[in-house]
């Protein structure tokens, strides 16, 4: 059964940017699920360690940009013993097609998972057309 398989550890995907970052620190690509229904496209992204204030969703010229700074969790006087995952920033961009209704985009952040709902514009939702016999 696929549901009960054992989870494998995954190193955070470090982003290889064509342009150099202007800020120091590591940049990661979050894992996302994207699925579509007739009415909307939903995007789920795993961004553990990002608070609401540090998450930035920007839509400009059909490009949706997610940026999230991971809040440093350590107190100043803590010493590392074992470091298996690193912190930095999440960054990912998606290009949206014309069919997205940009005014009704909705975002929710729960337990480190971002849920972004991108509704399609009314005219793009398919309607079945009844054919009359004549």
């Amino acid at each position: 059964m696929a549901e009960t398989k054992e989870l494998q550890p995954r190193e955070k995907q470090e982003l290889s940017t064509p342009a150099e970052q202007t800020r120091p620190g590591l940049v990661f690509t979050p894992a996302v699920d994207i699925f579509e229904t007739e009415k909307q496209i939903t995007l789920l992204a795993d961004i553990p360690g990002v608070t609401l204030e540090n998450l930035n969703i920007d839509l400009r010229e059909d490009v949706l940009t997610l940026t999230g700074d991971i809040t440093p969790f350590e107190e100043a006087d803590e010493e590392d013993i074992l470091v298996e995952y690193e912190i930095g920033r999440y960054f990912r961009q998606f290009s949206l097609s014309e069919v997205i209704d940009k005014d009704r985009i909705d975002a929710q952040l729960t337990d480190g998972v971002l849920r972004l709902t991108l509704p399609k514009v009314e005219k793009a939702t398919p309607r079945s057309i009844k054919i009359k016999a004549g």
């Binding site: 190193e11 699925f35 553990p48 360690g49 995952y85």
Partner: protein, 152 residues
């Protein structure tokens, strides 16, 4: 005009060749020594979840990234000086009529046991979860805490 002969060195004989090897070996030792001195990096145990372990004078802090997991999905138990974290990550179904474009997030079970480097007081351990990060704070046993010794 000066002829450069890059691979010819008049002082190159057997002795200096061995010296050269010796010098290279020392440099290699320095490089590897440097690597060993750093904290153990990335995928140390190769078991999910990845854990960061830190300490201060009073506590050990175990942190793991578990996004989208509810506290009731995670089991934490401690015995002696080992800490066990297990659970199951579910990704709820989004209905029948959805078409997936990307599926990068994974679901499944996990179990990890971590040996803490010193004596701990497991009765006072506390766990919390925030923004998808699990934090377990385990106080060190009184005997293991560093004692300030004053000079008289």
């Amino acid at each position: 005009m000066i002829f450069r002969r890059p691979f010819y060195n008049p002082t190159w004989d057997f002795r200096s060749a061995f010296e050269e090897l010796e010098r290279m070996r020392r440099q290699m030792d320095e490089v590897f020594g440097e690597l060993e001195r750093r904290p153990q990096r990335l995928l140390g145990a190769g078991v999910f979840p990845l854990i960061n372990l830190t300490e201060d004078n009073n506590n050990y802090y175990v942190r793991a990234e578990l996004p989208g997991m509810k506290p009731e999905d995670i089991n934490i138990s401690a015995t002696g000086n080992s800490l066990s974290i297990s659970g199951q990550r579910n990704i709820p179904s989004e209905g029948e009529d959805v078409r997936y474009h990307r599926r990068e997030r994974s679901a499944g079970t996990f179990s990890r046991v971590l040996a803490l480097p010193g004596e701990v007081d497991v009765d006072k351990a506390e766990a919390s979860q925030m923004n998808g990060i699990l934090t377990v704070v385990i106080p060190k046993a009184e005997a293991a805490k560093p004692k300030q010794i004053t000079i008289r």
